[in-house]
């Protein structure tokens, strides 16, 4: 569904993305992980067209996006920190988006709005909202138009456990519908059950992109978090193994 070919992006001296290639298919839930500043957000922003890569190509449904914008119709995006016009009320925000998108009403997915009971806060201006509520709004917007691809940047950060659970349920449900879901996170515990693939970035380089089962076998860890932690430490033979796989791949 999404194919990335040799993406490189520099911010001044910093190489945020270094020659990254990957391919994501429908039905996959990809955990995009890596330490802070490893280029996760830059990568998804590149997919969204918010960041323009210096070189490389991104294909969406086999089509080179090349600065286009129509393809974003099929992407629901939940930013890391949802920032919205201060003076706008929640209700207005949803109405505005619906108005701009002008999609048929039957495709609208209001489930999260209901689950989070956002309707009762429709009259609240965005500037008065807590971080958690903003996250809920962001999540609701991401799923609103029933997109075939979901890109969620740190979705559970700032959510209380209950809301987090609601979101997880929702993600699972969408996954089962055969959607592609990209999740970035540096905390892995709450994504364990959902993830089908792990993509690991470090200093702008992709360390690996692997099926979770394989990864578990390789690392010998059931818990994903521990597996990753071991990779991060870099002392584990699995790390070497992974880089071996990668070098093979690039060949």
């Amino acid at each position: 569904m999404i194919r990335i070919e040799n993406i490189t992006k520099r911010f001044k001296k910093l190489k945020a993305l270094d020659n990254i290639s990957a391919s994501f298919e429908k039905g996959q839930v990809i955990s995009l992980i890596g330490p802070n500043g490893s280029g996760k957000t830059t990568l998804i922003k590149s997919i969204l067209g918010m960041v323009k890569p210096d070189s490389g190509k991104i294909f969406f449904k086999e089509e080179y996006i090349n600065g286009g914008f129509i393809y974003r119709k099929d992407i629901g995006y939940m930013p890391q920190i949802g920032r919205y016009p201060d003076n706008m009320k929640i209700g207005q925000l949803f109405n505005m988006l619906k108005n701009i998108r002008n999609e048929p009403p039957e495709t609208i997915d209001n489930e999260l709005i209901k689950e989070y009971d956002l309707c009762s806060m429709y009259e609240k201006p965005m500037r008065t909202l807590s971080g958690g509520t903003r996250q809920k709004v962001s999540a609701a917007i991401a799923f609103l138009f029933n997109p075939s691809v979901l890109i969620l940047d740190e979705p559970t950060a700032g959510l209380d456990p209950l809301s987090s659970e609601v979101l997880k349920e929702k993600i699972l449900q969408e996954k089962n519908k055969g959607k592609l879901i990209l999740i970035t996170s540096h905390i892995l515990s709450d994504l364990d059950e959902l993830t089908t693939h792990v993509m690991y970035l470090q200093e702008g380089k992709m360390q690996f992109l692997k099926n979770i089962e394989t990864l578990r076998e390789d690392t010998g860890e059931i818990k994903l978090a521990k597996a990753i932690a071991r990779v991060m430490k870099g002392e584990d033979p699995a790390g070497n193994f992974i880089s071996e796989v990668l070098t093979k791949k690039t060949k």
Binding site: L48, M50, V51, R72, K73, R83, P85, M88
Partner: protein, 255 residues
């Protein structure tokens, strides 16, 4: 695009600054006309407001608004909308609100007290300068990375267009006073929208003086159909060019 502009406009109206600006213009123009029994003197003060305050407000307001609506722009960027459309909608929204503030705040008093050719020239100049400086502010904002730099850049531009540019022109006029500079001065006036607007008003206000000396040349040129076309053309260029550059930059920009 109008849909988006509508939301931009709506957002601006809610911030109330634009309403304060409208009221300010209205009260100032009204009191000018009330205080001065001679409307020509009020027009003179009004001209200074149009040539000095209007560009400043347009620049600063637009820059601040641009940075304040960064969230909105971000949100829109995740939607299937082209960047050009988003930026142009922002421009339409801001320029429309500033323009209506001007036309209500200054236009109504002028229509009541000085619906003369001079008055019309002032409304024309004020309107175009609003559009021009909104456009220039977009250029500055898109180029500068953060708000402080953006506002600084905008202020610098204002300073340049209102003061420094004319200072340089005067310096040139005196350094090369032995040469025939009439054509040159005509040309350089086009390179500063404020100067161009000022000359446009002067053509109506100071027609007597402009008929004297080399002034007659300006009067002949700017007063003719060609001159009017030139003025309007250059103004349109001043509106579209910075906006076009801004769009071009914005398209490549990382958000």
């Amino acid at each position: 695009m109008m849909k988006l502009s509508k939301y931009v406009l709506y957002d601006i109206l809610r911030s109330k600054i634009i309403i304060a600006y409208t009221l300010f213009l209205f009260i100032v123009s009204l009191s000018l006309f009330q205080m001065e029994e001679d409307s020509s003197k009020a027009m003179l003060s009004l001209m200074n407001i149009i040539l000095i305050a209007l560009p400043l407000v347009s620049l600063v307001f637009t820059t601040i608004h641009y940075y304040n609506s960064y969230e909105f722009i971000e949100l829109m960027l995740s939607q299937p909308l082209s960047r050009k459309k988003i930026l142009l909608s922002e421009y339409t929204g801001i320029s429309l609100s500033l323009l209506s503030a001007f036309l209500i705040g200054v236009g109504i008093p002028v229509a009541f007290y000085a619906a003369s050719e001079t008055g019309m020239a002032m409304l024309f100049t004020g309107s175009t300068l609003t559009l021009v400086f909104t456009s220039i502010a977009f250029f500055a904002s898109v180029r500068a990375r953060d708000k402080a730099k953006g506002i600084g850049f905008a202020l610098l531009l204002w300073f340049y267009f209102t003061l420094i540019y004319d200072g340089i022109v005067l310096l040139i006029l005196f350094s090369f006073s032995d040469y025939p500079l009439e054509k040159f001065t005509l040309l350089i006036s086009a390179l500063n929208p404020i100067d161009l607007g000022r000359i446009f008003i002067m053509l109506k206000m100071d027609v007597s003086a402009l008929m004297g000396y080399t002034g007659a040349l300006y009067k002949d040129f700017f007063g003719s159909g060609t001159g009017l076309l030139f003025t309007v053309g250059v103004m349109i260029l001043w509106i579209t060019l910075p906006l076009w550059l801004a769009v071009r930059k914005f398209r490549k920009k990382d958000i």
